[in-house]
Symmetry: none
Subunit: 428 residues, 2 copies
Amino acid sequence: MSSQKIAVEIINIGDELLYGSIANTNAQWMSEYLSEAGFRVLRHMVIADEQEAIVQALQEAMQRAQVVLLTGGLGPTKDDVTKLALCRLFGTELRLYPEALAHLKEMFMLRGRSLSALNEQQAALPAGAIYLQNEKGTAPGIWMNDSAGRVVVAMPGVPHEMQHLMQEQVVPRLLKTFAVEPLLHFHVKTVGIGESQLAEQIATWEEALPAHIKLAYLPSFGQVKLRLTATGKDRTLLQEDIKEQLRRLLPLIDKYVFGFEQETLEEVVAALLRKSGKTIAVAESCTGGYLAHSFTKIPGSSAYFQGGVVTYSNRAKIDILGVLPSTLEKEGAVSEATVLQMATAVRARFRADIGLATSGIAGPGGGTTTKPVGTIWVAYADAEAAKAALYRLGNDRLFNIKVTTALLLDWLRKKLGGRAHEFEDFFV
Amino acid sequence: MSSQKIAVEIINIGDELLYGSIANTNAQWMSEYLSEAGFRVLRHMVIADEQEAIVQALQEAMQRAQVVLLTGGLGPTKDDVTKLALCRLFGTELRLYPEALAHLKEMFMLRGRSLSALNEQQAALPAGAIYLQNEKGTAPGIWMNDSAGRVVVAMPGVPHEMQHLMQEQVVPRLLKTFAVEPLLHFHVKTVGIGESQLAEQIATWEEALPAHIKLAYLPSFGQVKLRLTATGKDRTLLQEDIKEQLRRLLPLIDKYVFGFEQETLEEVVAALLRKSGKTIAVAESCTGGYLAHSFTKIPGSSAYFQGGVVTYSNRAKIDILGVLPSTLEKEGAVSEATVLQMATAVRARFRADIGLATSGIAGPGGGTTTKPVGTIWVAYADAEAAKAALYRLGNDRLFNIKVTTALLLDWLRKKLGGRAHEFEDFFV
């Protein structure tokens, strides 16, 4: 195969998309993932859960693209007709795949449930298909080839199952099947600076970028991801070009960069904590458990995360953490004095090396003239001292919870000595 | 025209959609708005900003649908080729529309800017088109009819401009052009039962559904949403038909139904807590803060949520909650005895009416032969008693955290007396 860009079309099956009940986030995720892998997404189609519509859309897509990826319509219930449409298109019939059945039985056993006849149907695939094992659910991925070398893959529509199959099975197999033109992405992940402020800070550098390197800003909850994309024929040269640009870029935004590529802020902080040998505990008011969750969602966090308290009421702040009633009365729950006491106390109560605390007005209600919604105090305490900081955020409750968590994790990251890795480690 | 369902296709033009930089929220909004107005959305297509692709997609769509709505590609910059594609398709040419030019001049004057030659091009539309005035921006809507009575409408891709045109111009004009049949959706939300088990439980009912009512299963993290869709001539009759089906369906799955339509499990539980006047506190191990977050993300939760502890280590379970060291030694942290003590203790510590607790092996590591990953104990304690339950879930950490939270919230819901609303309340 030539090294031209391979064309992919995406077909998402689901009446709920056509009714507008949900947005098509699967198409977005797949497009981004495929673009980054060097494929060209030609078209998205959303169609109904109907055999005729699926067959028609597949036929059209296969006239334009070498690869067609479908999601949806693979569950055990009656409204799932994707497999029958594949059989019609490829002139084949459903056949029981023993490895699919074995996996299905294992998954049901793990959950302590028995397999019904309806469930067993999930192990029947169009004869000739390659079975792609789904470790996150019961509907498998189905890979089919036609005589012209085109590929059709059907996946379940549940986002985390589709993503797992794309990452572990579909895209690796596509990269083996087709020669994809080198395209190199590199992600620089920042926190604590807004998109437009960041753009101003790196404007001169951005204007001087060579034509074959493009830059994109991808913002979310207190973070901005910068994506550098280089295109060309020689992968090694592209790597050198990207490294050269990173050497110029990073000094300009050093204090906002927490990681690279797929690293998350939670993972970077987890790695730093593990390396430091220090333990941590958190006292939350406005973040309400989300800060603790951002530690405990990382596998193995029990090695350093001692625990936390969510002291939502004043009484709990007094009873559980020993915050002084006089402080709450004079300064209020959302105050520097209160978060400092919370961080110090939770550190002591959990016998941890580090204590973190949050107290603020997450909204949408509860604001006052002096303390409007979005007024949030946070604190960090260790054996040496306790310090507090004030954030002024927005009106959206979930936004405030998530941004506060990100900014406080970033403070912890800096206290633990900054980045875990150098960018060169990502080029190997 | 007959009162059959009018088929609509939506074409969204934009490279940023194909790169996955943004989700296609325009298609979602348009689909929901059109469905509620009684149209049937047949397909979404997302295509590139290229004349050839636009012409091809329009031709395909017009073979299937009576109405084709396009967004994007109408700005003054050079990548906007929608109008040229329309000219090609309808065999016509661009012509200056005086009323479009007058509106453009007025908009520029209001903004204190003068009109450039590039801007003036926005007043040129395909000859024969009906000009739809856009009060929110400079790109107009363009309405075209073909000889077979089919309608093509092009709109700008900026969401609030498109929405304004849809509401004020496009849909009112469509309703005048076509006789539209009513369509009614109703959502039943369940928790604690899998998709296939649910399907078996209601199989007889589902098979007896009349032809004009359809059913879909929409699963996510321990929950399954059932969507009933009725089509017919008379809106009032359709409401009665849906109610009749609900009266038959609900007794079959009564204990799994937590709400209707847009209600979330968290909101239903919040409303029940508020109504009960009871307060609550949570002690978490494996859910690590996520259970607390599921309460505190609801605005106003401080009225009943006293707080929680995340006792991740054994030491924290002993120090903070007073779990007996002998229990942890003999039974382990993941045991009935431990969660019972946790739930009872957190209730007392926070002086709450109800205490909840979780302790399990979220994974992916930490499993043993007798307690594999996914083994999760939960407990509920109130003034009368404390009770525990065992869940056997999967291997995925985040899945286990979210499903445990959903199942425990559902237990609380039942303890608080079940549903907040009757389904009849949703038909007004």
